[in-house]
């Protein structure tokens, strides 16, 4: 990328400050951002657990029994609670960010950000309730 450097010859060396490794501790908004990015780790870990569950299911009854007992250990339950919290946090930040990318005009007027967020949250709750309904009423 080119840039004009006409004056450089007459300038003493500029000083370029380096970013500190702890930059994300310096503002609450940076911290919230890093936490949101961290949610990916938990979502990925949960995906691995889901795959292992599928493998146990296909490996027969003994494997399945062993796997479900492992899942009931306090460590596993603790992980699931933490993962759920991170997943919920991720979803909320995602819905809050939705209006930044979506510009909707209805009858020539832009739809307010709050309405867009609300619409997303309502759809999310309806879908979650539907899935929970299917799983729990069987």
């Amino acid at each position: 990328m080119e840039s004009q450097t006409t004056y450089k010859r007459f300038r003493p060396a500029p000083y370029t400050p380096k970013m500190q490794l702890s930059w994300w501790w310096q503002k609450p908004t940076y911290f919230a951002y890093i936490m949101r990015e961290l949610t990916a780790v938990f979502v990925a870990a949960y995906a691995v657990i889901l795959l292992l569950t599928l493998r146990a299911l296909s490996a027969g009854e003994a494997a399945w029994e062993a796997w479900t007992t492992t899942l009931q250990s306090p460590l596993s339950i603790g992980f699931h609670v933490v993962a759920l919290l991170f997943a919920v946090y991720h979803s909320i930040t995602w819905f809050m960010a939705a209006p930044t990318a979506i510009v909707l005009n209805v009858k020539g007027k832009p739809v307010p950000a709050k309405t867009l967020i609300l619409a997303h949250v309502v759809i999310w709750i309806v879908c979650s309730a539907a899935i929970a309904g299917i799983l729990l009423t069987r």
Binding site: P14, Y15, M19, Y33
Partner: protein
């Protein structure tokens, strides 16, 4: 009643000392003084060697941006009273090379800005005889927000991605690219896609949103970039799936 306030300035005088240092100044606490007024007082009355930029003193030229207590701000639009009892720490804008004291080197940004072609690229050459290139109010509203950018670079200082990745075009440059992309008189989208889809383009943004919080003109670069990601993703798939030529249309 407090009569003075301490201004702590991060100074850099390359010919004297190779590293920056902090210097304290005691300035009168005048009601209605902006931080810029305090710096002007220092330069006029206390220390003529202090270097900083300013011009309009009314929040439109975009040259007085500095870090005020760690937050990027236009110093002419930031008041001493907001920081009582002080001290107020003034540093050059983050993520830029510092030439002297509070003066930063903007060359890299200027290069990036030019790179996104922030000018009208009409579909056909027009001559003066063609008359005005008219727009409806709705067509103007589609991009007007992005025209309000004053290139003050506060968004660059607010953005950690800018600090971590020197190739990133940055919030203002992408918002200004969008200012032309959404202009009904412009046909330069394809050329800008080449830049914005590339390494260092819009997809290097990780959606921290700090640029929009720092923007004194409510341009909302975060929004401009996320909207581009949607448009850019469409273009990416078009270029991948459609035969050459068709996608360029």
């Amino acid at each position: 009643m407090q009569k003075t306030i301490t201004i702590q300035v991060k100074r850099y005088i390359p010919e004297k000392q190779p590293t920056p240092f902090y210097q304290d100044y005691e300035v009168p606490l005048e009601t209605k003084w902006g931080v810029l007024d305090a710096l002007t007082y220092i330069k006029d009355e206390l220390d003529g060697t202090l270097a900083f930029r300013w011009s309009c003193h009314m929040g439109v030229c975009g040259s007085c941006g500095m870090m005020v207590n760690g937050q990027p701000a236009l110093t002419c639009a930031t008041f001493l009273e907001e920081y009582l009892p002080g001290p107020i720490c003034i540093e050059p804008l983050d993520h830029f090379p510092v030439i002297r004291d509070l003066v930063i080197d903007t060359d890299a940004f200027m290069g990036k800005l030019k790179y996104v072609k922030p000018w009208l690229i009409p579909a056909e050459e027009r001559s003066v005889d063609d008359g005005e290139n008219r727009q409806t109010p709705a067509e103007l509203a589609a991009f007007k927000q992005y025209t309000l950018c004053i290139n003050c670079l506060l968004c660059y200082s607010a953005c950690p991605v800018v600090g971590l990745n020197e190739d990133f075009l940055g919030p203002a440059a992408i918002a200004l690219a969008q200012r032309y992309n959404y202009d009904s008189r412009d046909a330069g989208q394809t050329q800008r896609h080449d830049v914005l889809l590339d390494h260092g383009g819009a997809f290097d943004c990780t959606l921290i949103g700090e640029c929009s919080r720092a923007c004194p003109k409510h341009v909302d670069p975060t929004g401009a970039i996320q909207r581009y990601k949607a448009d850019g993703a469409m273009e990416f798939w078009k270029r991948l799936l459609l035969p050459r030529g068709a996608a360029k249309r």
